[in-house]
């Protein structure tokens, strides 16, 4: 195999898949870091976002790139609603109960998708897209957009967290919640803001997975493990870590078919997760351990 083949058939798909995981993993790391629990409905929230975009494209007739921000807004609002009606009242109780509630939400979101949109696989656009070739490197437009959009979304988030008052409040809450409360940070506002951002990230992850593959009710659930592995690999609470972790998991998964049977591609994220918990639970960038 030539280097070019390696890039075209393994590295590029890996980076694309990794970008999708990264979008999801950033959301997971925010929930883990700020709200301090493992959000098991994350994958199914992504599914919901992807199908919300589909409804806008198929029924509303809007362009896919208009559908993306709209779906992000819908999913952000949905996440705030889920928190308000299902998670918020558990906040005084052990966090593990919220984890359990989120598993229930995962099931409910999936059931909604299955009832409303059925169980057939769907796509945003029809027809086969041939990759363009640049100096021997074959890449499809949508793949390029996926990576660029991921970088753009993460850059905006990064700027928000570093330079705005409420972005800093989110970081403070993640860093030292007691002191943040003593400083007068409103926990409720930070929680809602976090869910809005997390919902938007979920929709983006689901959208790009749907754009590059296809939409189905289980699409998000199968992403859950790689997304968690990416967040923990990067270091819980670390946005940049989640991006790096996502890219690593994506690339490793795509490359793995060179060494192990394709069926076990999905097992890789799990293996990486266990290894990182065993040797360096704080992750690559020294995150939190709950």
């Amino acid at each position: 195999m030539t280097l070019l083949e390696l890039i075209n058939f393994y590295l590029i798909p890996g980076v694309v898949l990794g970008s999708i995981y990264a979008l999801g993993a950033v959301g997971i790391t925010l929930v883990f870091g700020i709200l301090r629990f493992a959000h098991l409905a994350h994958g199914d929230l992504a599914t919901f976002g992807a199908f919300a975009a589909l409804a806008l494209v198929a029924v509303g007739g809007v362009n896919v790139w208009v559908a993306l921000p709209l779906a992000m807004a819908i999913c952000g609002a949905a996440a705030i609603g889920i928190d308000k009606y299902f998670y918020d009242y558990l906040k005084e109780r052990p966090k593990i109960l919220t984890v359990m509630a989120s598993l229930g939400i995962a099931l409910m979101l999936r059931a909604i998708v299955q009832v409303v949109w059925g169980v057939d696989t769907e796509t945003y656009t029809r027809g086969i897209v041939r990759p363009e070739t640049y100096w021997g490197i074959r890449i499809r437009d949508r793949e390029l957009y996926t990576v660029i959009a991921m970088l753009g979304i993460v850059a905006v988030l990064w700027f928000f967290l570093k330079n705005t008052k409420w972005g800093k409040a989110m970081r403070a809450m993640s860093d030292n919640p007691d002191l943040a409360l003593l400083s007068g940070v409103d926990n409720r506002k930070v929680t809602m803001l976090t869910w809005m951002i997390v919902g938007m990230l979920c929709a983006a992850a689901g959208f790009f997975l749907g754009l590059n593959t296809e939409l189905k009710a289980l699409m998000g659930w199968t992403m859950l493990l790689p997304m968690f592995a990416a967040a923990i690999l990067g270091g819980v609470g670390r946005v940049e870590g989640a991006v790096i972790g996502g890219l690593i998991i994506g690339i490793v998964e795509e490359m793995s078919v060179l060494f192990i049977p394709t069926e076990y591609k999905a097992a890789l994220a799990f293996a990486i997760l266990l290894i990182i918990l065993l040797v360096r639970p704080t992750g690559l960038l020294k995150g939190k351990v709950l």
Partner: protein, 240 residues
Amino acid sequence: MLQKATSHVLAMQEVRGGYGDADILHGVSIEVAEKEIVVIVGPNGAGKSTAMKAIFGLLKVRGGSIMVDGTDIAGWTPNRIVQHGVCYVPQVNNVFREMTVHENLEMGAFLNKGDFTEACDRVYALFPDLRERRRALAGNLSGGQRQMVAMGRALMLSPKLLLLDEPTAGLSPKYMEQIFEITRGVRDSGVSILLVEQHAKQALAFADRGYVLAAGQNRHEGRAADLLADQEVAEMFLGG
């Protein structure tokens, strides 16, 4: 506004309370006058830190009153107490480790709507070391510098009263002196200070007045120098 009974910044009277259903404080009375440094000492489990948390609204107060500047703040939320001019520096985890020194100070002024460059300048003037390290992560600072960040954060809203919970815990004697020095500087800038100290002798040598708590009650009180000379107090802290 009610007429002020005293010139005391803080006057807590016969405060009782605790975390759960059981009381830890069984009647504690502490007063702090303007520009005064007052220290609370006492054996482990005497309720020193608990008394401080009671002032800051972190536990249930079931009796007594806590007057700050003539207003009873018993039962208020910490947020409201901060806005009333009382700031609190916890003993541990008192900085945002993954944020820069400057961002820590900004978080101290979170409730303040306006510009806080002036407040930052005031804090940096008090702690020149911090100005140099303003871009460093608080978690990477030395113990003494971290305590400065913690105090600086609390001073951002120009409180009348600063509560310090064992500021020298875990610091070497050299740093302990430094912290006391800084605390004096803060007092000289016009802030009253109430602190809890484990190192009773050193703290009494440095404070203006002191209270000795035992089993959740006042045991002794008076000028720090007098307490230091008191035979009974000295016996309580033999080796301490």
